[in-house]
């Protein structure tokens, strides 16, 4: 413990200061699988961001489509434009590779926006419930219970049936479906953390409530929320794909991965497997990568593993 029994001035330890973030990174990289997941995820995100530079055609620009290129198998060459359709084309002559890259943008965008918005709303309400207690808490948590007792897909379908198609409406539906999970988790960890002595110490210090909640309580409640958020991004993407597949999701003019699968599905039996299969694989890889990262984050951020 202390060498400095006789000397009250403790000498600084020579070991370099390790910030919690650096420790986290080190612990995260212990799992090769999670690292691979992270690498794939980063690649997917970059591909989505730089889709216009990577894809040979803009799949939304009808002028660039040629009906003569329709239903071409992977590897065939475009008649009019001269480039190769790596993953084939759909019935409109749209390059599947380009469509998937652009579809990823929609899928990831919808997933991220809805998960972040749900996290913000849910965490705020959860923290308010934990802090206020009494009637406020009871009302918020009963709404959460009610929300969680319905299957997510059913709630989303109802909302979209009511609001109609559209990216914004899908995001709204997903937020409404997901916020309750965050609220419950946030309340749980806020209740645990607010019992800790450092919160009492902050109260004793006479710090304002706002500061105690935002600076002390919130950062210590974040780890479980971050984990849930990653998992919920994956969940939102798959839910959006499901909704689009069912025809109530994004509009046909801006196809997400789910809508691409849906569009190609009718040609499956005709032997044009690539129209559905490749968007499906892209969706699968994305979700698996996000879940791998989320799982490892959960292990790393678990307070029991923090030594």
């Amino acid at each position: 413990m202390t060498d400095t029994f006789s000397n009250p001035i403790e000498s600084p330890v020579t070991a370099p200061t390790v910030s919690p973030i650096r420790k986290l990174v080190r612990q995260f990289s212990r799992s090769k699988l999670a690292l691979a997941g992270l690498a794939v995820l980063v690649a997917i995100c970059l591909a989505a961001i730089f889709a216009p530079l990577l894809s040979p055609q803009d799949p939304y620009d009808l002028m660039q489509l040629d009906i003569m290129d329709g239903q071409q198998a992977p590897g065939s060459t475009s008649l009019g434009h001269g480039f190769t359709f790596l993953l084939g084309t759909d019935d409109q002559g749209r390059d599947m590779f380009s469509a998937i890259l652009y579809g990823l943008r929609i899928s990831l965008g919808v997933g991220l926006t809805s998960a972040i918005a749900a996290a913000l709303i849910g965490a705020t309400l959860g923290m308010i419930a934990a802090h206020a207690g009494g009637r406020t808490e009871a009302v918020i948590m009963r709404i959460v219970d009610l929300q969680l007792s319905f299957p997510a897909i059913l709630v989303a379908l109802m909302i979209l049936a009511f609001l109609g198609k559209g990216i914004l409406n899908v995001v709204l539906a997903l937020v409404l479906v997901e916020w309750a999970t965050f609220a419950r988790a946030a309340r749980g960890s806020a209740l645990v953390e607010s019992q800790k002595e450092y919160i009492e110490a902050a109260v004793c210090m006479g710090l304002p409530l706002r500061r105690i909640l935002l600076r002390h309580l919130l950062p210590n409640c974040l780890p479980p929320l971050i984990v849930i958020a990653t998992i919920q991004v994956a969940r939102a993407i798959s839910l959006e794909a499901t909704l689009s597949f069912l025809g109530v999701g994004v509009p046909i003019t801006e196809p997400s991965l789910g809508l691409l699968i849906s569009n190609g599905y009718q040609y499956m039996l005709a032997g044009y497997y690539w129209m559905s299969l490749f968007p499906g694989i892209a969706l699968l890889i994305t979700i698996v990568a996000i879940n791998l990262v989320g799982d490892q984050l959960r292990d790393v951020l678990n307070p029991r593993n923090r030594s």
Partner: protein, 644 residues
């Protein structure tokens, strides 16, 4: 560390009984753990013996490797990440070479272990758990096991043993649970009992009972005991021989009497010097720092006498009058109040400027709740708290902020009381940024000043709490509490979780700060010996009430209330010569402060038994006892009844 010093005391032929072959013999034990692919030894080259019918104490501070040594003997460490080298011979068998199967037979049958927290399964009745062991290890039938369980519970002096078989672990108090754990350990009549800090989590009076019990049982059964503890007082109380460990190495091994009278290693001497001796302050009226001993050289620095004396005539800084804190217990579907915990009941006391008032008592006596009520962390039902002449109840928002600056608190667990996501510098500058108008540079200068004031290097400001040791963190917590220059510091068990040598340092720091800054302390502790060291006045609490309050010298030298005496007699004396021979504390369950909702607390009388020294006079016949004391006091002074 020379091998010679380790071996020599083990071969001494004292009293002739050491001729017998040792029951357990450990030779050159090195236990290493794998961390990030690297093996680092936690126990290095440790050798000692335990003979039949002998109690050996392994003493050391946290991280000294004493528990790991015991775990190595039982091979309880995870084989994947730990490695045991050396030889461990038990009863002629080499434990390191045994198969896992054979080792399982030894565990429980020949060597039993008890832990700090009684290791009982919370979902089974204790009768079931005892019977399970008996059926499994001694091949008894259910009915035989039932009868044997009752006998075992009787042996560990559990009152009405038969009825307790149907109790769940949570129905019993901590002391009773530890007794059940001991009964389970004894079920197979082991030759060796390993007790790993069995009394650390218990109150002093309960600790005394458990130690007594282990000693009696050992004599009855003739088993050997390996007693692991950090408490030199407990060592003096129980052990025949003592092994002192420091940072994974055995530094000294000898008979307990030799260790206490003629310790040769500087670390042992340092350890002994930092133990508070109850009664060592008899002739002093002011607090006294602990003497400090250098771990390497053994040089002793004599404690400084404190010179400042609080003015007892001054207006009290903090005045608590008739404080009552109660918690409702709700049950039933409608959540009706089914009972009340009378956590604090009619408590009154003053703290003068520059004075240390200690609140002592066992767990659940309401001492922490009193502090929390003063800090505004717990709501109080009745009574008044006046700080600096102003009642707390009617303060405006601004005044309340000012009050919060003036009263600060230091908590028991330094790891929990600092936000793990803020650097120490951020934690220290936070109150300054909010309460003062200092500039950024001014705050930084003040943070450095605070760190230096508690004996830490300013460079440490950029580090996170997990990078510090417990003692350093408690210094930081004190620095944070001092940031706003408070007048009163409430220390709620602030040194209880620390190792003895660190405890001595923190106590010395607090005494020094009091002298330098003229602070008042409300020092809350269950540790009578530390309280004797630091306080000017002492209040003893029991079941939410103050049963005795007065100048420290009077309360410790002339305790009037029977509970105070019980508390003091239960403190283990760190002197093997003065080992108590008979049972000092009767086995009893702690009484509970839970009352019916309509319970009216009886009005208590405080009787002045000496100058400024009051003791509670309740209906149990203590009045007469106290009155005689009061009459003795009356020879010098007119006694008066003070009904507070």
């Amino acid at each position: 560390m020379t091998g010679q010093r380790m071996e020599a005391p083990l071969q001494t032929n004292e009293e002739g009984r050491d001729m017998a072959a040792p029951l357990l013999s450990i030779r050159n034990l090195t236990t290493s753990f794998r961390n990030d692919g690297q093996w680092s030894p936690v126990v290095r080259d440790v050798s000692f013996d335990i003979r039949a019918r002998e109690t050996l104490a392994v003493v050391g501070e946290s991280g000294s490797g004493k528990s790991v040594t015991a775990m190595s003997v039982l091979r309880l460490l995870p084989p994947a990440s730990s490695r045991i080298e050396g030889r461990i011979t038990f009863d002629g068998k080499d434990l390191t070479a045994l198969s896992d199967e054979a080792m399982r037979a030894i565990r429980g049958n020949d060597i039993a272990m008890i832990f700090q927290e009684a290791s009982l399964n919370p979902v089974y009745k204790i009768g079931f758990q005892l019977a399970e062991v008996l059926v499994e290890h001694r091949a008894m039938s259910q009915t035989e096991a039932q009868a044997e369980s009752v006998r075992l519970l009787d042996r560990v002096r559990i009152p009405s043993a038969k009825n307790r078989l149907d109790a769940y672990p949570h129905n019993l108090s901590g002391g009773m649970r530890q007794r059940v754990a001991i009964a389970m350990a004894l079920a197979c009549q082991p030759k060796l009992l390993i007790a790993d800090e069995p009394t650390t989590a218990l109150d002093v009076t309960i600790q005394a009972q458990i130690i007594e019990l282990i000693k009696t049982l050992q004599q009855e059964d003739g088993m050997s005991v390996l007693f692991i503890t950090h408490d030199m007082g407990v060592v003096a109380e129980v052990s025949d021989r003592t092994v002192v460990m420091y940072r994974g190495e055995l530094v000294e091994a000898d008979t307990t009497a030799e260790i206490f009278s003629r310790a040769s290693h500087p670390y042992t001497r340092a350890l002994l010097a930092s133990i508070p001796h109850l009664g060592s302050m008899r002739d002093r009226d002011a607090p006294l720092s602990f003497p400090l001993v250098d771990h390497q050289t053994g040089a002793v620095s004599e404690p400084k006498e404190t010179v400042a004396r609080p003015n007892q005539q001054a207006e009290p800084l903090l005045a608590v009058r008739g404080l009552k804190v109660r918690f409702n217990i709700r049950s039933g579907i409608l959540g009706g109040v089914s009972g009340r915990v009378h956590a604090v009941e009619d408590v009154s006391f003053d703290v003068k400027p520059g004075e240390t008032l200690s609140l002592v008592g066992e767990s659940g006596c309401g001492k922490s709740t009193t502090a929390r009520a003063i800090m505004g962390l717990a709501k109080y039902e009745d009574g008044g708290i006046t700080f600096n002449g102003k009642p707390l109840a009617g303060l405006t928002g601004q005044e309340q902020l000012a009050r919060k600056r003036d009263v600060q608190m230091v908590f028991q667990d330094p790891f929990a009381s600092l936000n793990p996501r803020m650097t120490v510098g951020q934690a220290l500058s936070e109150p300054l940024a909010f309460h003062t108008s200092l500039s950024r540079a001014g705050i930084r200068a003040r943070v450095y000043e605070l760190l230096e004031g508690v004996g830490l290097h300013p460079d440490m400001a950029s580090r996170y709490p997990h990078q510090f040791s417990g003692g350093q963190l408690q210094r930081i917590a004190i620095a944070r509490a001092l940031a706003l220059e408070p007048k009163l510091l409430i220390a709620d068990e602030a040194v209880s979780a620390l190792d003895v040598s660190v405890k001595a340092q923190i106590v010395n720091l607090m005494i020094e700060l009091q002298e330098r800054l003229g602070l008042s302390y409300l020092f809350i502790s269950h540790d009578m010996a530390v309280v004797e060291r630091v306080s000017h006045r002492v209040a003893v609490m029991y079941l939410g009430e103050i049963v005795e309050i007065g100048p420290r010298q009077a309360v410790f030298g002339n305790p009037a209330h029977p509970y105070t005496r019980e508390l003091m007699s239960a403190v283990p004396v760190p002197d093997p010569q003065r080992r108590a021979t008979e049972t000092r504390v009767p086995a009893r369950e702690l009484r509970s402060p839970i009352r019916a909702p309509d319970f009216q607390a009886p009005k208590r009388m405080m009787l002045e038994v000496g100058p400024g020294h009051f003791a509670q006079a309740d209906s149990d016949g203590i009045v007469t006892q106290l009155t005689s004391l009061a009459e003795t006091a009356a020879q010098t002074r007119q006694p008066r009844l003070a009904a507070e």
